[in-house]
């Protein structure tokens, strides 16, 4: 379970997080929905301890990443805002590197890497060097890196950007499968459809605060709108920075 309580973060004069509070329970997909610049990436970075909150805390199974970063990171898989591949390594080697960093080496590592590659249907490109990979193939490598150690928590920052329909489907199927295995999944997005299609729970973030929280239906009921998009616009009070 990921618990975020009263998170505040200031960059100079800009308030990125302003008392953000929500939880991402096990076996559920929690969507962090918000316009560009709402503080989604800042929030995720704070959860895995890359940024330090000015106040408040983010707990991963009760562990604060700002105090025990290594312990916290052992239990999470991360698909970051920006991911670059090592162009001279094959897809398999990249995934194996991250498996090794999580303590999976030799036979255990090979097995875990093979499993992740199979799951993402990327055996065909597994032993090719990353140079020349398409955006979708790159995304798959990054996803495989995030799940190779079978983390109990998965944090994804806008995972579907730049993906074609097939890749998006693979991503959705994977997330649903992981959810059924009890993984708590937290992902940020500004794409309405994706959130509506996947999430058990939506946390609408605007200006560093939680503007509303609940299932898609609950949010629609709350605003008296029939579509999530309309509900969303009503909640944050503007349609700026949102993609349908």
């Amino acid at each position: 379970m990921i618990q975020v309580t009263e998170l505040r973060k200031q960059f100079g004069k800009v308030t990125a997080l302003d008392g953000l509070t929500f939880t991402a329970p096990e076996g559920q997909i929690t969507g962090l929905l918000g316009p560009n610049g709402a503080g989604k990436t800042t929030c995720l970075r704070t959860i895995y301890g890359l940024l330090k909150a000015d106040s408040g805390q983010a707990l991963i199974d009760g562990i604060d990443a700002s105090k025990q970063p290594l312990e916290a990171r052992r239990n999470i898989g991360i698909f970051p805002d920006k991911f670059g591949l090592y162009e001279r390594l094959t897809a398999r080697e990249q995934v194996a590197y991250f498996a090794a960093l999580h303590g999976l080496e030799k036979e255990a590592g090979q097995a875990a890497v093979q499993e992740a590659l199979e799951r993402l249907d990327m055996l065909a490109i597994a032993d090719r060097k990353a140079t020349g990979f398409s955006q979708g193939q790159r995304m798959k490598v990054a996803l495989a890196q995030a799940i190779v150690h079978r983390p109990k928590h998965l944090i994804l920052d806008e995972p579907s950007r730049g993906l074609d329909v097939m890749s998006t489907r693979i991503l959705r199927d994977l997330l649903r499968e992981l959810r059924s295995q009890g993984t708590s999944i937290l992902f940020s997005s500004h794409v309405m459809q994706e959130v509506a299609a996947l999430c058990d729970q939506v946390v609408v973030v605007a200006k560093g605060k939680v503007a509303a929280q609940g299932t898609t239906e609950e949010l629609c009921q709350l605003t008296g709108e029939s579509a999530l998009e309309e509900a969303f616009v009503k909640i944050i009070g503007t349609d700026e920075g949102i993609a349908a």
Partner: protein, 386 residues
């Protein structure tokens, strides 16, 4: 999940090394410096030696040769002959003028004027001029011996002191000046060879956007930097070892004995040099990682590092030219290794304690820099450039 069997440092090290070896540019950079540096030196030395030991005749303008045929004969025996070709552009003519009164002066035992006109500051002609002076002096003393003998005097009365020169300069110490410049190549090889790798695994990591994910893995930033530093040091050492092996090899093919220099570096000494370079390689890498982790792109890092390369050059050349002789130099990073290498090449006894101390100091300073980079990477300001 299985238990962690290896330190993350080893995992990072292995991955970075594999990545770097596949990068042809990095491998080429490491090799080319180690190859072309010594090769360049060899060519420079070859030209220098052939100039110093030039056995060809000195061709000069001689005026009034008809007045002193005996002197001309003597000069010819010494390899100084009258010039028939024009002087090449940019070279000052050397001219020897024998006075008209030569025959009379010799006959009446008066000093006979001979004028040597040349640019005495021209380094290229210095050895030529010296040969002419020596030949004239030689002829002069030959004449005075004959004159004294003709007057029934033992010529030795005008030679009250017989200066016997014992040259204590070992062949090794004479070569030291020459070898000083070679040392700089060996020392700098560790700075040049790992450079490309160091940039790629720091600024390159940031440029290709893989730094954020890497820093979010369950290893401390200190372990990460340590693994990376070891990988880049391996490349630096690769270049260092190449130049340590190649430079003595190249000198074997140079006719150094012709200028009275012997350079014989045996295997144990080469091994010692390699051992000395090891902490220096780590030091070089740590400094390079420090500046290039602060850069946002490969290009920016290259700019910083080219400034950084001035540092070892300044230190080594500075000590060399200022003729600093402070004993502290033996204990510091870089200058310590420099002094020890000088001793090895001069064939002097090694000062083991300072050598050991400078090695340890270098390693400690490097590890401190690495620790500092680790702390730097734990700061969000540096990582995200806030």
């Amino acid at each position: 999940m299985s238990k962690s069997v290896r330190s993350p440092v080893g995992i990072v090290w292995r991955k970075e090394l594999k990545d770097a070896i596949r990068d042809k540019r990095s491998v080429m950079a490491a090799m080319s410096y180690a190859f072309f540096g010594p090769l360049l030196m060899a060519v420079a030395f070859y030209v220098m030696i052939s100039q110093l030991t030039d056995p060809s005749d000195v061709e000069i303008d001689i005026k009034g040769a008809e007045h002193a045929p005996a002197l001309i004969d003597y000069l010819q025996q010494q390899g100084i002959i009258e010039r028939e070709k024009d002087w090449p552009a940019g070279q000052q003519p050397i001219e020897l003028v024998i006075g008209e009164t030569w025959a009379d002066d010799i006959a009446t035992a008066q000093p006979a004027p001979v004028t040597l006109t040349a640019d005495f500051s021209a380094t290229k002609q210095r050895s030529d001029i010296r040969r002419i002076e020596k030949a004239i002096e030689g002829y002069s003393s030959k004449l005075s011996f004959i004159r004294l003998q003709m007057r029934g005097l033992d010529p030795r009365v005008v030679q009250p002191i017989d200066l016997v020169k014992h040259d204590t300069a070992t062949k090794g110490s004479r070569s030291a000046i020459l070898m000083g410049s070679v040392l700089i190549f060996i020392l700098l090889s560790v700075f040049f060879s790992g450079m490309n790798v160091a940039i790629d695994i720091s600024a390159g990591e940031r440029e290709r956007n893989s730094l954020e994910l890497l820093l979010s893995q369950p290893l401390s930033s200190h372990q990460l930097v340590l693994g990376k530093a070891f990988a880049a040091s391996c490349f630096a050492m690769f270049g260092g070892v190449l130049s340590v092996v190649l430079i003595p090899l190249i000198f074997r093919f140079l006719p150094l004995h012709e200028i009275g220099i012997s350079v014989a570096i045996e295997w144990p000494m080469m091994l010692l040099m390699v051992l000395m370079l090891a902490p220096l390689a780590l030091f070089a890498t740590a400094l390079q990682l420090f500046v290039s982790f602060r850069a946002k792109s490969f290009k920016e890092a290259q700019t910083y590092i080219s400034f950084l390369l001035m540092l070892p050059m300044l230190a080594v050349f500075g000590v060399e030219f200022a003729r600093l002789k402070n004993p502290v130099l033996y204990y510091l990073p870089l200058t310590g290794q420099h002094q020890a290498l000088l001793d090895i090449i001069k064939g002097e006894a090694l000062q083991w304690l300072p050598l050991l101390v400078s090695g340890v100091v270098t390693a400690i300073v490097s590890l401190l820099i690495i620790r500092f980079i680790g702390r730097m990477l734990a700061s969000e300001k540096v990582v995200f450039g806030l």
